[in-house]
């Protein structure tokens, strides 16, 4: 953000009084939906809808203009067209509003005329040092303050993961995947065209936001990528940052230009330089959510040595494919662990592969046996974190208690991979995740979650941190 010295963004994320410009009674308009979003989300502060011709919308009294609002507001959400938005920002600045969210598109992403209009918008915001989210954004959610300001009204579980997304569509994808994965969202910031508040500004804020423990970022491209990566690297020293960069191919650049007015830049430069700054990167929205979930739930491992316990070999093969390139190693088990495993399974049993990954085959279904094997592996000094694979079965139950107890006893990170469908494991997922153990239903997600934990575990030890 331009100007000297940092601007306090707390009134933007934790407003007490909010004005909404452009509310109407038409449910297909952004103004209606943003107001509904705020009301439906359970906002406890005051809302002042503004429209020159309406009396009442969604049961709220409507004010003719900002001047008619009886008290100063902290935040204004501007749901007007791209031209009227510029004037509204100007009036907010004059009235001493502390922040604005501009939903309208029609700026630099549309070409030169829109770009000129956006310059006017930026100038209006900067004149009053008024922090601005957007334009061209889905909006913002602060679940920590029950403030929902997106034009897709939502009510989602609260948690410790905050998301910064350049795209509303991928933002919503991430939010809904997070619901499926059973994790709560703390804040969602749709940065849109990044005209005033960009990625780095939002990262700066979230760095010191106590309710945010993990930050997920979806980026198409940023004019100031250099500052973004440096900031991400610095913030990641304090709390994990996971970045999903899209726009891998030159063809995508045209679409990012016409989407948020940003050039995608070289995908390889982003990848290499994020790596340089010690930031964990992923290749899909589902990986983004999977990595954030594990980082939000689990402690960081003391090293990169991954133990895998399974009773079916395939998932462990898939996991190793993902883990090895991410710098994880699959260490051999101590002899002591091997004898302990032999003791647990007995001698006249089906064949068991006595190494890491430990494939307990047919015996793995038995809860006490599985729990004992998990404990044996967690007790092994060679193992820094454990991935436990278990298959959904008509008769056998997931050894949830056994795994939770093992995790508590050894205090090493544990990730459970339940081979089953979403409905079949939902109850177990909630149960385990309430106890702090993440559960996934796909080996690729389990592996990326493990890789994320290892990345930040190693970084915490100075393995991939920077001195500057």
């Amino acid at each position: 953000m331009a100007g000297t010295g940092p601007v306090d963004l707390r009134p933007v994320f934790y407003p007490k009084r909010v004005a909404v410009f452009g509310v109407t009674n038409t449910p297909d308009r952004v103004g209606y939906n943003v107001l509904e979003s705020i009301l439906h989300g359970g906002f406890t502060g005051k809302v002042y809808p503004i429209h020159p011709r309406h009396e009442q919308v969604l049961g709220c009294k409507v004010y003719k203009s900002l001047e008619d609002v009886p008290e100063p507001v902290d935040l204004a959400v501007i749901c007007l067209n791209q031209y009227a938005t510029v004037k509204a920002v100007e009036s907010c600045g004059r009235a001493g509003v502390k922040g604005v969210i501009c939903n309208a598109g029609g700026y630099r992403e549309t070409g030169d005329v829109g770009h000129d209009l956006e310059k006017c918008l930026i100038a209006a915001a900067e004149k009053y040092r008024l922090p601005m989210i957007g334009p061209n954004t889905l909006g913002m959610i602060n679940n920590d303050g029950n403030f929902y300001s997106t034009f897709y009204p939502l009510k989602i579980p609260a948690g410790k993961v905050s998301i910064i997304s350049q795209s509303g569509g991928i933002g919503l994808t991430t939010i809904h995947m997070a619901i499926d994965e059973g994790i709560g969202i703390n804040k969602f910031i749709g940065v849109g065209n990044c005209s005033n508040l960009g990625f780095a500004d939002c990262l700066d804020y979230l760095e010191n936001d106590d309710s945010t423990a993990v930050i997920g970022v979806f980026i198409e491209g940023a004019a100031d990528a250099g500052r973004f990566v440096r900031t991400a690297g610095r913030v990641a020293r304090k709390k994990p940052v996971v970045v999903y960069k899209a726009g891998r191919l030159a063809e995508a650049d045209y679409y990012t230009q016409t989407h948020t007015g940003s050039s995608a830049g070289s995908f390889q430069l982003y990848r290499d330089i994020l790596h340089q700054h010690g930031v964990f990167t992923v290749n899909s929205a589902s990986e983004l959510v999977a990595a954030c979930k594990a980082l939000a739930l689990q402690p960081l491992p003391g090293g990169n040595r991954v133990g895998i316990l399974t009773h079916t070999a395939g998932p462990s093969v898939v996991m190793i494919d993902h883990l090895a390139p991410a710098g994880c190693v699959i260490p051999p088990l101590h002899e002591e662990t091997v004898s302990r495993v032999k003791q647990i399974i007995g001698s006249d049993n089906p064949p068991v592969v006595l190494k890491n990954p430990l494939d307990a085959a047919g015996l793995g279904f038995s809860r006490p046996t599985y729990g004992g094997l998990a404990e044996a592996m967690l007790a092994d000094d060679n193992v820094d974190l454990l991935l436990a694979v278990y298959c959904l079965h008509k008769t056998w139950e997931l050894p949830a208690i056994e795994l939770i107890n093992a995790h508590k006893k050894y205090k090493k990170p544990l990730i459970v991979n339940f081979v089953g469908n979403w409905q079949g494991c939902r109850a177990d997922q909630d149960f385990m995740q309430n106890a702090g153990v993440p559960l996934y239903t796909a080996p690729e997600k389990t592996a990326v979650a493990a890789a994320a934990l290892v990345h930040y575990g190693m970084r915490r030890k100075g393995g991939n941190d920077r001195d500057d």
């Binding site: 491209g221 940023a222 004019a223 100031d224 990528a225 250099g226 990566v229 440096r230 050039s263 830049g265 070289s266 390889q268 430069l269 290499d272 330089i273 790596h275 340089q276 700054h277 920077r466 001195d467 500057d468």
Partner: protein, 230 residues
């Protein structure tokens, strides 16, 4: 001349692309090992310099207008004796004099071949100054085995670059060949980073190839672009 003075001089002469002898002097001042490169203004001087340099030598056109030297027929390599130098000089001048009557040549010794690497630097519109490293020579475009880091680089960044390219095994010795001098390579990468950090008027550096030896490195061909406004 100091690094600053070399850039000042080029900018004052209205050139963005340094002559190769200027690039060489600049790199040398930055502590980067670079093949010797001397200017000759006529045929006799080219022979004289070649004798002092030691045969075989390479002759390259030195001109502010002929910037794609090879395409213009302005590069002759592996000249073994005085006669070869004279013929090469005349051959080059025949091709380039029409384009630039003030053309000169540079004389460089032919370096003994090593593993061909690329060390470079570019100014990205989004990330600013970025250092590049990869396998060099003519295969660079085919395999695109290059990795990038943002300036300033730390030693661990240089080490990480060397280890992260696909062809990393080539550097560590394969099929009985000795490994290349990793310390010297790390040094070149870091020196490029420090050089452009101190002199932001440098917009691009292309050292390709750098010959990597079991002991030491040598930048054989260098291209440096500067801009008056940093």
């Amino acid at each position: 001349m100091t690094i600053n003075e070399i850039v000042d001089h080029a900018v004052a002469s209205g050139r963005n692309l340094l002559f190769e002898d200027e690039a060489g002097a600049l790199l040398k001042a930055a502590g980067i090992p670079v093949n010797s490169c001397r200017v000759a203004s006529d045929e006799d001087e080219a022979v004289q310099v070649a004798k002092e340099t030691g045969f075989p030598v390479a002759l390259k056109v030195r001109s502010r207008t002929v910037t794609h030297k090879t395409d213009a027929g302005g590069v002759r390599l592996g000249l073994a004796d005085e006669e070869a130098v004279r013929l090469a000089y005349r051959g080059i001048m025949e091709k380039v004099r029409m384009i630039d009557p003030e053309s000169q040549v540079t004389v460089q010794p032919m370096a003994s071949p090593g593993v061909e690497l690329l060390v470079g630097m570019t100014t990205d519109p989004q990330f600013g100054q970025v250092v590049a490293f990869g396998l060099g020579g003519t295969l660079v475009e085919l395999f695109n085995d290059i990795t990038y880091r943002q300036v300033p680089l730390l030693k661990k960044d240089a080490t990480d670059m060397i280890n992260s390219i696909k062809g990393s095994a080539v550097l560590k010795g394969y099929r009985g060949r000795p490994p290349v001098d990793i310390n010297a390579l790390t040094g070149i990468i870091l020196k490029v980073s420090r050089l452009v950090e101190k002199e932001p008027r440098i917009k691009e550096i292309d050292l390709n190839p750098v010959f990597a030896y079991p002991q030491g490195m040598l930048a054989v061909d260098s291209r440096i672009v500067v801009c008056g406004n940093p």
